[in-house]
């Protein structure tokens, strides 16, 4: 493929193989007023200068409270939203600068698993059509090969291949999410953005789906960006974690390091909110107060920078203020 490449290497500064590098990514949603002649009056800074990288074969967790911009980050990486600024370098190519035809080809390698399995499947299409859609769109294989591929994928995600003629409403939430996973796997992608793939499911089903995702990762060599707000699930599945707050990254570290030694006040606050499955302890446990220093991190006029405190453990610090 001849695409405008920014730098053709996927190696990061430390010489590691980073499949995805996000640099200073911004996504602002304009607030407009006026009926015929619309003008922008303000902007919601959903993602405000996010930088991170995902190494090949790992699972990076992206955590944060509701509305902190984690889903928007995922969607902006996939160019479902057009980024306001910044670079998304996937396999050495800056996705933000790819022409749309090139981007469409690129989508074979990057897929997404969506949060709501009730909304992410077209109710007017049967399972066979849903799962084979990526193949049809990219013109892969003959009709018969596609059918075989669909049957193979359904089996792979633990569904009966006989289900091809059924419609989404005939399935439970967990089964629907499996269909969504099968669709994401159809084109053999190398990288999958999982946008809270389990938060809409029953707890008993969550474990099954997470285990399925882990098995598939091992088997197919996938790389995940795992967006979630369930901290114990993140700990279970992720190699590294990035903590987001108000559209910016506060701390990134290897999972165990982050959970045992959280350095940023926001991370400490988040972790203190994780419930402990023992009523005796839970009843007497003191939760952390919201530290006042968080107001400074919330302030968009403060410039943040990630500083490496320990090897691989980055913490955001305020390095200055925007004038004006």
């Amino acid at each position: 493929m001849t695409a405008p490449a920014v730098d053709n290497t996927t190696k990061n500064a430390n010489g590691k193989d980073a499949i995805l590098q996000v640099r200073n990514l911004k996504k602002y949603f304009p607030i407009t007023s006026g009926i015929i002649f619309q003008r922008q009056v303000d902007a919601v800074k959903a993602v405000d200068g996010v930088s991170f990288e995902v190494l090949r074969g790992e699972t990076l967790g992206l955590v944060g409270e509701s509305g902190c911009g984690k889903s928007t980050t995922g969607r902006t990486i996939l160019q479902l939203y057009k980024p306001t600024a910044g670079e998304v370098i996937f396999e050495g190519k800056d996705l933000t600068k790819l022409p749309s035809a090139e981007m469409r080809k690129m989508r074979r390698d990057i897929q997404m698993i969506f949060q709501d399995p009730y909304a992410s499947l077209n109710p007017r299409m049967n399972v066979g059509r849903i799962v084979s859609e990526p193949l049809i769109v990219h013109n892969v294989g003959s009709d018969k090969e596609r059918q075989e591929r669909v049957a193979y994928l359904l089996e792979k995600v633990g569904l009966n291949p006989y289900f091809v003629n059924r419609y989404p409403h005939e399935f439970s939430g967990g089964q629907r999410q499996r269909i969504g996973i099968a669709r994401a796997l159809a084109l053999d992608p190398s990288f999958i953005v999982c946008d809270e793939p389990i938060s809409a499911l029953d707890v008993s089903i969550q474990a099954q789906v997470v285990n399925l995702l882990q098995d598939l990762q091992k088997e197919l060599g996938l790389t995940y960006l795992f967006i979630a707000h369930d901290l114990s699930m993140i700990r279970h599945i992720c190699n590294r974690v990035a903590v987001m707050y108000m559209g910016r990254i506060m701390e990134t570290a290897p999972t165990d390091e982050l959970y045992e030694n959280p350095l940023h006040p926001y991370t400490q606050l988040l972790l203190s909110a994780v419930p402990i499955p023992d009523p005796e302890i839970e009843r007497v446990r003191q939760r952390m107060e919201r530290p006042s220093v968080l107001a400074d991190f919330r302030d968009k006029n403060n410039i943040l920078e990630l500083k490496e405190q320990k090897p691989g453990h980055f913490v955001a610090e305020i390095v200055g203020r925007v004038q004006g």
Partner: protein, 349 residues
């Protein structure tokens, strides 16, 4: 998919019928049909609509007489049972009576001595043509504009919707009356061989229906465009549209494979429920003399003819009114049934 993975795939061996089964007919529409035929009112409506279509198609074989033939001795005549039906009609053989009794025609005759039943049967052709062409025109223009408007958004959306607003601001009936009067006047006077002349030729061949179609087309698409746009806007927010984008589907695929099938239900329902409006619109135009050309019968023009003598010869207005009433009710019941059958809530169970 690697070949080694394909090789260790035992399940496909046991499912030979899978291949033929994969692209079978759309079960959702079958389910909707089942729900429709369980609805008694909708079935009655459907039966009446189908019967009317058959009557319209086979009118020459069904009608007992020629709809143009004037038998002057039968002027305003009515058979005995019609006179008994309407209490204010009195037969000539009664004291002070005025209605000629004639058993030639089942429903009696109009003021020119033409068979009322045959005229009603032929009149169904006009009403049903309007019932089918109206939605076609409205869909062809409105659905496409609505899809484009809703999907493109931004400036295109703004432009199309303001155009719709402007069209809405015109008083529809006045606009159509002016247009019809203008068409008739200019096209009749146009020279042989011009486009206007040819249009007029086509129009007179169809008994004056072409201009009715044009009038309906000009005024009916706005509702559909608005509805389609609104539906597109709501469907576009769904995650499955994002999912389609994220696998690399083109705009064309998204519009026609994902959005259109999901908005079709409400639009079909809305169009079916608008059909009575088209029918009554045609009847109204014929009533005020801007519709079909005589002697082509239309229920509207028959009601207009009969209305003048409604106290003396009520059957001339009442029978075509009943036909109009019946077909409008049938389409309404059918539309209601369709709405229940295609209820979007079922998609979630």
């Amino acid at each position: 998919m690697t070949t080694s993975e394909q090789a260790q795939k035992p399940t496909l061996v046991g499912v030979p019928e899978l291949a033929q089964d994969m692209h079978h007919t759309n079960k959702l529409w079958v389910d909707a049909w089942k729900r429709l035929i369980r609805n008694r009112a909708a079935v009655v409506g459907l039966v009446i609509v189908i019967l009317s279509v058959l009557i319209a198609i086979f009118a020459p074989y069904i009608a007992p007489n020629d709809y143009r033939e004037q038998v002057l001795t039968n002027n305003n005549s009515a058979p005995r049972w019609v006179i008994d039906l309407f209490p204010n009609m009195k037969a000539k053989d009664e004291e002070g009576g005025w209605v000629t009794v004639s058993e030639d025609y089942i429903l009696g005759a109009d003021n020119l001595g033409r068979d009322l039943l045959s005229r009603i049967i032929y009149g169904s052709r006009v009403s049903l043509s309007v019932a089918f062409v109206g939605p076609m025109v409205s869909l062809a223009v409105g659905l496409i504009l609505g899809l484009v408007s809703g999907y493109a958004g931004g400036r295109v959306d703004n432009l199309i919707m303001r155009l719709v607003d402007i069209m809405y601001a015109f008083p529809t009936i006045l606009l159509v009356i002016l247009l019809m009067a203008y068409f008739r006047a200019t096209f009749n006077a146009s020279d042989q061989g011009t486009f206007a002349y040819r249009l007029n030729q086509i129009d007179s061949r169809f008994g004056g229906m072409l201009f009715i179609f044009i009038g309906i087309g000009l005024t009916s698409w706005m509702n559909t465009a608005r509805l389609a746009r609104g539906q597109v806007l709501s469907i576009r927010q769904r995650e499955y549209i994002e999912a389609a984008t994220s696998v690399g589907a083109s705009d064309f695929t998204i519009i026609f494979r994902h959005i259109l099938p999901n908005i079709l239900g409400p639009i079909v329902v809305a169009e079916t429920l608008t059909i009575p409006t088209y029918i009554s619109f045609e009847a109204f135009l014929s009533f005020i003399g801007l519709g079909v050309n005589p002697p082509t019968p239309s229920w509207g023009s028959m009601i207009a003819d009969g209305a003048g003598a409604i106290s003396s010869y009520p059957h001339q207005a009442i029978f075509p009114s009943m036909a109009l009433f019946l077909i409008m009710f049938a389409f309404n019941f059918l539309g209601d049934g369709l709405r229940d059958a295609l209820d979007p809530h079922m998609s979630r169970t």
